[in-house]
Amino acid sequence: MLWGLAMSETFKDKRILIVEDEYFIAQDIKRVLHQAGAEVLGPVSTLSEGMCIAEEGRLDAAILDVNLHGQMSYTLAEQLAKSHVPHLFLTGYDDWSLAEPHRDTPRMAKPFQPMILLAALERLLSAEASA
């Protein structure tokens, strides 16, 4: 795929965590990232698994579902922010139903388009690189 090739340099060897509790959605994201040349951590479906990976490994970015089996992924987002790992929410929630401190976190609405998700991730990675 053309866009996959074009972006392959951006995502090459980038370690990206996926936390998403719907199996098929998680697989979709994983496939998109693989095609773009990224290394995928996970996908995992629970907050605790996500926290484990965030604590132990070097991460370049993370994609977080907000509602994981009824648990909000905010604590993980805060953990990532503390260690300067750029991340975005992939969620069906509108801004106003997100908890106040997280309304400025980049948000990708479900259902998402693979290209737009990649573009958003690229922005996160380049902002981090120039920071």
Partner: protein
């Protein structure tokens, strides 16, 4: 032509009968020269008590200077024999000998009876509670009050019966001090107050009140207009809470709808990726969409969004025209599943049913399908579900390797991922055997 002048005796009769006050005064001497009987009827003073007395005998001291300076007309207060004052409107006419003729009309008298009746009716018929209270002080501190007057709506609002003449503490000993303080403030300062206040002593009622001073300041009397707004406040509170709940619900609904659409899209992608033939794609995708839709319908049946496992399985079988009977057995204890569990499990059931219909126990004559389940209890609460799908009597030759692979992926990968399930799927002689064991708290990997 003008009428002939009235005789002196006719004038005298008018003078005696008039309800207006008629007086002749000497402005120079500052005394009453003559007064008519109306003075006695409306003020209580006899003629002999006023004639030759100074104005100050009955005119309010504050009004005296204006009285003396008046030219054509003025208002002033006259003291009645019983100590009250009445407001009198005067007109003057200047006669011979430096005498002034005065005609006075009692301002209150002309209005009072009609007005009083009007106000009495108003207070009797209005829905608001109304009372006049008189504060009681001990050592300069307000400690209680007595009810002087109450209207019929009074007790409907505060539940106090036969209040007139009794004190508040007699009827509600626990009445809060804050009430004394606020009424005492009104009584002493004359400031009118509109406020809202609750009272545990009056059965946890909430009131809306308007209090204003009446009578002379030293009487410490306060009139109170009030309304019991407890139910209104509670209704408002309930409405606010229900709005909050609705807001959360709308947020959740949005989330669920978008999530579901995303799942549908992912299922579609997988279906396309695992089928070569377009007709197969259509067929499989429609079946899966149908299964997702059926679960949504069952979820909506109960307020809590729980799904009965038996309903889930029967609906799935019914969708392809299969009922339970000698060859199809469905059995297990009643169990309600959360919508999360039901969604993924429903899809798994759909894959198993479709497979059985095309290649397995639901296609082959004489074959049998057993769907059964049991539940582990933890302290009396369901905590794990064990579901078994067993096909028997399907000739080995009809066995088909996992169709497009979607069903196998769903059972072997998606159920463990999504629901923390342990699954087993076997194609062995006689048909498919599948077992699914999953935690019922909805969180995979949690030790609860």
């Amino acid at each position: 032509m003008s009428a002939p002048p009235l005789s002196a005796s006719a004038l005298q009769r008018f003078h005696d009968l008039s309800d207006d006050l008629l007086a002749t005064v000497s402005m120079r001497a500052g005394t009453w020269v003559s007064v008519n009987p109306a003075f006695e009827r409306s003020l209580g003073w006899g003629e002999d008590e006023l004639v030759d007395q100074p104005f100050s005998a009955i005119i309010h001291p504050d009004d005296l200077p204006r009285w003396s300076d008046a030219v054509n007309a003025m208002d002033c207060r006259l003291r009645c024999k019983d100590g009250h004052h009445r407001l009198i409107a005067w007109r003057f006419s200047y006669g011979e000998g430096g005498l002034t003729h005065c005609i006075g009309r009692d301002q209150a008298a002309s209005r009072s009876s009609a007005d009083e009746e009007k106000y009495r009716n108003l207070f009797r018929s209005m829905d608001q509670g109304y009372c006049i209270i008189q504060l009681i002080y001990e050592d300069g501190e307000p400690v209680d009050w007595r009810f002087i007057e109450v209207n019929p709506a009074f007790e409907k609002h505060n539940g106090l019966h036969n209040a007139v003449g009794r004190t508040m503490r007699e009827m509600a000993p626990a009445i809060e001090q804050k009430w004394m303080d606020v009424y005492s403030h009104v009584a002493t300062t004359g400031e009118s107050l509109r406020f809202e206040e609750d009272s545990a002593a009056l059965g946890d009622r909430i009131f809306n009140l308007y209090a204003f001073r009446v009578g002379e300041p030293e009487e410490r009397k306060v009139a109170v207009l009030f309304q019991n707004i407890t139910e209104q406040r509670h209704a408002e509170e309930a409405l606010r809470q229900s709005e909050d709940r609705l807001r959360v619900l709308v947020g959740e609904l949005q989330h669920r709808v978008r999530n579901m659409l995303t799942v549908v899209r992912s299922v579609f992608t997988r279906t396309v990726a695992t089928n070569e033939d377009l007709e197969e794609v259509v067929d499989h995708f429609q079946g899966r969409l149908g299964a997702l839709a059926r679960t949504q319908v069952i979820v909506a049946r109960t307020a809590a969004g729980m799904v009965d496992l038996q309903d889930l399985i029967r609906d799935e079988l019914l969708s392809v025209g299969v009922h339970d009977g000698p060859n199809v057995r469905i059995g297990g204890p009643d169990i309600l599943l959360s919508s999360n569990v039901a969604e993924t499990l429903g899809l798994a059931m759909h894959e198993l049913v479709t497979n059985a219909l095309k290649y397995g126990a639901l296609k082959v004559d004489g074959a049998r399908l057993d769907i059964s389940w049991s539940i582990d209890l933890d302290q009396g609460r369901p905590n794990r579900l064990h579901l078994r799908w067993v096909e028997q009597g399907v000739p080995a030759i009809v066995l088909h390797p996992a169709r497009d692979g979607f069903g196998r992926e769903l059972i072997e990968q998606a159920l463990p991922y999504r629901l923390g399930a342990e699954t087993m799927l076997e194609f062995r002689g006689g048909g498919i055997r599948c077992s699914i064991s999953l935690p019922l708290d909805g969180r995979p990997g949690s030790a609860e």
